[in-house]
Symmetry: C2
Subunit: 278 residues, 2 copies
DNA sequence: GTGCTGCTATGTCAAATGACAGGGTTGGTT
DNA sequence: AACCAACCCTGTCATTTGACATAGCAGCAC
């Protein structure tokens, strides 16, 4: 292994490090707010989503008053930088994002991906620093809330508070699954598990209706998610393609036999009830 | 690697598998309830803990009425089995536990450790199956709550609801850190990071006052936490001892220079405010 | 004592994974 | 066209890590 124990050799191409630093700069996202005064929640794109449990009308009205506006980010832009305490919290309205954590020496671990309906910034809401960065993987639109008013939500809307806890607990469960991957599965199993995870979330959130998730994930990102080197990621991906287990290109993921892929990756089929959202 | 890609070779000593199966049987924990009618919360052992934020008196009274009793488990006993939906939720009053997740073929991943003040069973509270098992690493005493009444807590006590979300978010942050370990750190860094994590939690919860955590962790458990083989865990542990970075025996963990260990493991020193508890 | 069990330690070899170096493709820009 | 930036791919070799086999040692029951 080249990460020699403690001398912190460069570890990533300078190009990558460079781009990371650039991203760090346009972190603020300050001026870009687009308040969507018009039809806030009545036209919420999440209302059509099969996989989401819709809030009752009165709660929806409350959210409409609570929410602040919309915001858009382009693919590659950073929504949160690590170790900041931002002003806004978000719900994903459309698009996919990822959260990642950076080590001082440049190594980066992608923690998880966020799909429509997911809530962003819970750690920030609780007066803590963000332990990770959040970056858009596609063009995204986010529903924004003001952090300071977060406690109003908890105090006034036990239903939403419950939902928020629900989301946090299920996010935790997803991280557990990723931990199992990194700790116990070998490279091919990990990659299969990740593919199944992504496609399943795509199906559940309605953005991969026919079982094909259109999402551009570079092999470098896969490597950073799975804790593998870029080269080994490439080879493993090719191996899975050769077997016919997954059909994963730069821009889309397709799994011919998802049950077979689950079995291969040793994923126990826990069925999730439909997710709430805020 | 011996985990050859998909043939699921035995992978663990038969003795270990055997003991796991045994543990699976005494899972119910049904009849062992010890209702502590006397002085429930006034004498709460957590009240003395420096690292915990104490609830205000009225909330404490509410908890006293909400809580159900005490329960004790001996080292090695299982509190929750995986994929069950238990009747009780717990707060750790004393002792240390671990949560782990089992794969069908016997591989096991330890997810995290739980110290006094931690809340157990949030997933269960939200009507989901437990995705993991919970096992006592020492003799423990737990404060029990009835799962069905969980929504009362959310509805009636926004403060506690907030605290619960706080705990969930910070548990998530801990899992993120473990993910970074498994994904980006090599064996020695992982082990140092784990040692620092455990000792720090021990200090914060007052059970390692002099910086020495008395807790018996076998090398097999370390291996299952860090995603390493038992043999490699042994060798790595010896290497760390040789360097003088950690002094980790079967029954205790001591870190001569915790700052050095942090630097070695590349842990960024995020300072946590004091944790709430319920 | 003898056996047994759980844990730690070591030696040897094999497999998984990473490092390094280089080439190829695509797409955008000037 | 020439250049450049991302990204994907391949070959070769080094390192990390795992598998297997075995031994030692403490505790404990009988």
């Amino acid at each position: 292994m080249g990460r020699d124990d403690n001398d912190s050799s460069p570890q990533m191409g300078t190009a990558l490090v460079h781009s990371m630093l650039e991203q760090r700069q346009d972190q603020a996202a300050g001026g870009r707010l687009v308040v969507n005064g018009g039809q806030p929640c009545r036209a919420c794109p999440l209302a059509d989503c099969e996989g989401l449990r819709q809030p009752p009308p009165d709660v929806r009205d409350w959210i409409a008053a609570f929410r602040h506006g919309d915001m858009r980010f382009a693919r590659g832009e950073q929504v949160y930088a690590q170790a900041t305490r931002p002003r806004f919290l978000y719900t994903v309205l459309s698009g996919v994002l990822m959260r990642s954590r950076l080590l001082e020496d440049g190594r980066r671990q992608i923690i998880n991906f966020m799909f429509p309906g997911d809530f962003i910034g819970l750690q920030a809401a609780l007066d803590a620093e963000m332990g990770h960065a959040v970056e858009a993987m596609t063009n995204v639109t986010l529903c924004t809330f003001v952090r300071e008013r977060f406690f109003d939500l908890v105090a006034q809307q036990p239903r939403l508070s419950f939902d928020l806890t629900w989301l946090a607990a299920h996010e935790e469960a997803a991280l557990e699954e990723h931990l199992v991957s990194l700790g116990q599965r070998n490279a091919r199993e990990r990659m299969a598990a990740l593919a199944v995870f992504l496609v399943q979330r795509g199906i559940d959130t309605g953005i991969a209706p026919d079982g094909v998730l259109t999402l551009t994930v570079t092999q470098g990102q896969i490597a950073e998610m799975l804790g593998l080197s870029l080269v080994h990621t490439n080879r493993t991906l090719q191996a899975l393609r050769r077997i016919g287990l997954v059909d994963w290109t730069l821009t889309s993921i397709r799994i011919p036999d998802i049950a077979a892929a689950r079995a291969f990756a040793k994923i126990d089929g826990s069925v999730f009830s439909s997710r709430p959202y805020i």
